[in-house]
C-alpha cells in the first residue's frame, strides 16, 4: 500500500547521492549539537563530583581571585600568596567547624627524575575524614619524612610503600608510606605530604596556600563564613558552590561560542535541505502535475514534499546522534586539549533526553526548511507542468 511516507522515501531514494550528502550535512551538525549538549551535562556533573571529592565545604585563602582558588582546589595551581597558619586558631574556634586543615600546594621540579612534582601539603590527621573514598595501600603518613602518592605518580615511577621517594629539595629524605588507589580524579597526580614537610620544602615555615574547612551542618555555611570574615582580616572565603560557579562561568563562554557555531551549522544544513528538496521539486514538476490530474490536492502535494524533508531531517538527526556516540572519545580528547580546565572522568555524558531533544530540534528545523519547497510544489500549475 502506498503511503505518503513511502512515496516520500522512494522519491529521496531516486537521488541517493544527493539525499545522502544532504543527510550527512544534517548528521554532522546534529552530532556536534548533541556532543556539545552532552558535554555540558558531563562537565557540570564531573565538576560537581570533583568538588565533592575534595571533602571540604569551603576554602579560606588570602584575599584575591576566586578563579585562582578554583584552580588550586582542582588541579594544583600555585598561588603566590600565603596565609599565616595562625589563622587556623581562629578557624578551629569557630562554632560549627567539624575540621580544618592547612593546605600548601606547590609545583616543585625534581631534577633527578626530570619532572615537576605536584606537592600537596595537608594535615595528615584529617585525610581519612575528608577523603573517605580513598583506597590506600600502606599507611597514611605518620611522620614528617613520609609521603602518600597519588596512583598516577606511583605508577609512573613504579613505587611501592616503603620505597624511597626522591625528594625535590636537598637535605630532605622521603619514604613512601602509602599509595592511593586509582580515583580517576586529579588526586591521582598529587604527592601528599604532611603540612610541616611541605612548609619545609617550600621554605614557608608558617605558610599555607589555603585552609580547607568542613562543617558539621552544611546549611550553616553562610553563618560560619560570615563570622570568620568578620573576625579574621585579609582573608577570602570561597565555598565549593562558588568555585563551581566560577569554573562554570569560565566554561560558559566556550560553551556559548560552540553552541553558536553549531546553530550556524544547523542553519546551513537547513538551507542545504531546502535547496536539495527544491531541486527535486523542479525536476519532478511533470510528475506533480500528473498527481494533481489523478486527484491530488495542493495539500496532498505539500504533504509529500514535507514528508521528504522530515525524513531527511530525522534520518540525518539519528545518524548524527550515532556518529556523536561513536566519536565521543575523539571529541573528548579534543575538548581536553583546548579547554583550560576540564574535570576528570567522562566528560561527555550521553542522555536519552538530550538525544531526543536534539532530534526533535532538527525535526522542527527540517519542517521549517521544507515549508518553502512544499509550498512551491503545491503551487505548481498542473496544466503547465504536464505540458512540460
Amino acid at each position: 500500500m502506498t503511503s505518503y511516507f513511502k512515496l516520500a522515501a522512494k522519491n529521496l531514494l531516486r537521488h541517493r547521492t544527493r539525499s545522502a550528502l544532504t543527510m550527512l550535512g544534517i548528521a554532522a551538525s546534529v552530532g556536534v549539537l548533541f556532543a556539545v549538549l552532552s558535554f555540558n551535562q558531563g562537565f557540570s556533573e564531573g565538576l560537581a563530583n570533583e568538588l565533592e571529592r575534595t571533602g571540604l565545604h569551603f576554602m579560606i585563602v588570602p584575599s584575591g581571585c576566586a578563579h585562582e582558588v578554583a584552580a588550586l582546589v582542582l588541579h594544583g595551581a600555585v598561588i603566590p600568596k600565603f596565609l599565616d597558619t595562625e589563622v587556623m586558631e581562629h578557624v578551629k574556634k569557630a562554632r560549627g567547624v567539624e575540621l580544618a586543615t592547612p593546605i600548601l600546594v606547590a609545583q616543585l621540579p625534581d631534577q633527578q627524575r626530570g619532572r615537576i612534582d605536584l606537592i600537596y601539603g595537608v594535615d595528615m590527621d584529617v585525610v581519612s575524614s575528608i577523603k573517605p573514598g580513598w583506597n590506600i595501600t600502606g599507611n597514611i603518613p605518620r611522620n614528617d619524612h613520609e609521603v602518600l602518592l597519588g596512583n598516577e605518580v606511583a605508577q609512573h615511577d613504579n613505587l611501592q610503600p616503603g620505597d624511597h621517594f626522591s625528594s625535590p629539595a636537598e637535605g630532605v629524605d622521603l619514604v613512601v608510606a602509602g599509595v592511593i588507589g586509582l580515583t580517576g580524579s586529579q588526586d591521582d597526580a598529587f604527592v601528599y605530604v604532611p603540612i610541616a614537610t611541605a612548609q619545609q620544602l617550600l621554605q614557608q615555615p608558617r605558610g599555607a596556600t589555603a585552609i580547607g574547612v568542613k562543617v558539621d551542618d552544611p546549611t550553616r555555611i553562610g553563618a560560619i563564613t560570615e563570622e570568620l570574615t568578620s573576625v579574621v582580616p585579609g582573608i577570602q572565603i570561597v565555598t565549593m558552590g562558588e568555585v563551581m560557579n566560577s569554573i562554570s562561568n569560565l566554561a560558559a563562554s566556550a560553551r556559548a561560542l560552540s553552541l553558536s557555531i553549531v546553530l550556524i551549522a544547523i542553519m546551513i544544513s537547513a538551507v542545504g535541505v531546502m535547496n536539495s528538496i527544491l531541486m527535486a521539486v523542479f525536476e519532478r514538476s511533470q510528475e506533480i502535475g500528473m498527481m494533481r490530474a489523478v486527484g491530488a490536492s495542493r495539500w496532498n502535494i505539500f504533504r509529500i514534499i514535507l514528508n521528504e524533508t522530515t525524513i531527511l531531517a530525522l534520518c540525518g538527526g539519528l545518524a548524527g546522534i550515532l556518529l556523536s556516540i561513536l566519536g565521543a572519545r575523539m571529541i573528548e580528547a579534543f575538548v581536553r586539549s583546548v579547554m583550560p580546565y576540564v574535570p576528570s572522568g567522562t566528560l561527555i555524558r550521553f542522555d536519552v533526553g538530550i538525544a531526543a531533544a536534539s532530534v526533535a530540534f532538527i525535526f522542527v528545523i527540517g519542517i521549517v526548511a521544507g515549508l518553502y519547497p512544499a509550498w512551491k510544489a503545491s503551487k505548481i500549475n498542473p496544466v503547465e507542468a504536464i505540458k512540460g
Binding site: T2, V294, G295
Partner: protein, 218 residues
C-alpha cells in the same frame, strides 16, 4: 453526460494572448468512445484539460452530469477529478521508485480509499500486467507502462477516461493493444475520450471530432 457550451480559452504566452479555444460546443454521451483529432496547437489538449476539470475556460460553461464546473473552486474540481475522471498521458508519468502495483494504487492515496489488493490485481489483469505487479517501471516496455497508466486511471472507478495521445510513444503493436483496452472499456460503458494523431485509431472510434484553430471543424 458532458456538455461544453461556447467554451473559450485564452492564455498568455510572453507578451501576447493566445486564444486556444474560440467557442467550442460539444456534447458527449455516457459510454461514448470519442476521438479528438487536429493539427498540433489546434487546442486539443486544452480542450481535454477543461473536460477533465484540470483547467477552466476563460468563457463558457462546462456541464458535468448537469453541474456547471466552469467557475468551481479548485477544492471542488479536485473532488470531481478524484471521483469521476481518469487521466492517461502520452508520457505515462509513472513514478520510478514505485512498483506497478503502487503506481496503479497511487490515486487511492489521494482519495483516501483503501487499496484493496484484489481490485489492483483485477485492474492489472484487465490490462495484461498481472505478472508484473512487483516490477519497477524501468523494467517495463513502453506498452506495459501505458497499460499501467490506464490501470491507474481506472482505479478510482471514474465515469470518464481522458487519454492524451495514449499511443503517441508506442509502436503499432502496442498501439493496437492500448486501443483494444480503450475500446473494451467503452463497450463496458465507460465514457472514453482520446486525443490522437493516429488516423487509423481515430477512424475506428465511435465518433471523431476535429479541432482546427480552437474551433470544432467537423
Amino acid at each position: 453526460m458532458i456538455e461544453l457550451k461556447n467554451i473559450e480559452k485564452t492564455y498568455r504566452r510572453g507578451a501576447e494572448d493566445v486564444r486556444a479555444l474560440r467557442g467550442v460546443d460539444l456534447a458527449i454521451d455516457a459510454g461514448e468512445l470519442l476521438a479528438i483529432v487536429g493539427p498540433s496547437g489546434a487546442g486539443k489538449t486544452t480542450l481535454l484539460h477543461i473536460l477533465g476539470c484540470l483547467d477552466q475556460p476563460t468563457k463558457g460553461d462546462v456541464y458535468f452530469d448537469g453541474v456547471n464546473t466552469a467557475n468551481m473552486p479548485e477544492s471542488q474540481l479536485v473532488k470531481i477529478r478524484r471521483e469521476k475522471i481518469g487521466f492517461v498521458f502520452q508520457q505515462f508519468y509513472l513514478i520510478p521508485g514505485l512498483s506497478v502495483y503502487d503506481n496503479i494504487a497511487l490515486p487511492l492515496l489521494f482519495s483516501n480509499k483503501p487499496a484493496g489488493r484484489k481490485k489492483i490485481e483485477q485492474l492489472a489483469d484487465m490490462v495484461g500486467l498481472a505478472h508484473r505487479l512487483d516490477h519497477a517501471p524501468a523494467q517495463l516496455s513502453g506498452g506495459e507502462m501505458q497499460r499501467t497508466a490506464i490501470a491507474r486511471g481506472l482505479v478510482n472507478d471514474p465515469a470518464v477516461l481522458l487519454a492524451d495521445e495514449p499511443t503517441g510513444n508506442l509502436d503499432t503493436e502496442n498501439s493496437e493493444k492500448i486501443y483494444a483496452i480503450l475500446r473494451r472499456l467503452s463497450d463496458e460503458g465507460l465514457t472514453t475520450i482520446m486525443i490522437t494523431h493516429n488516423v487509423d485509431l481515430a477512424g475506428r472510434a465511435r465518433r471523431t471530432v476535429k479541432i482546427t484553430d480552437g474551433l470544432i471543424s467537423s
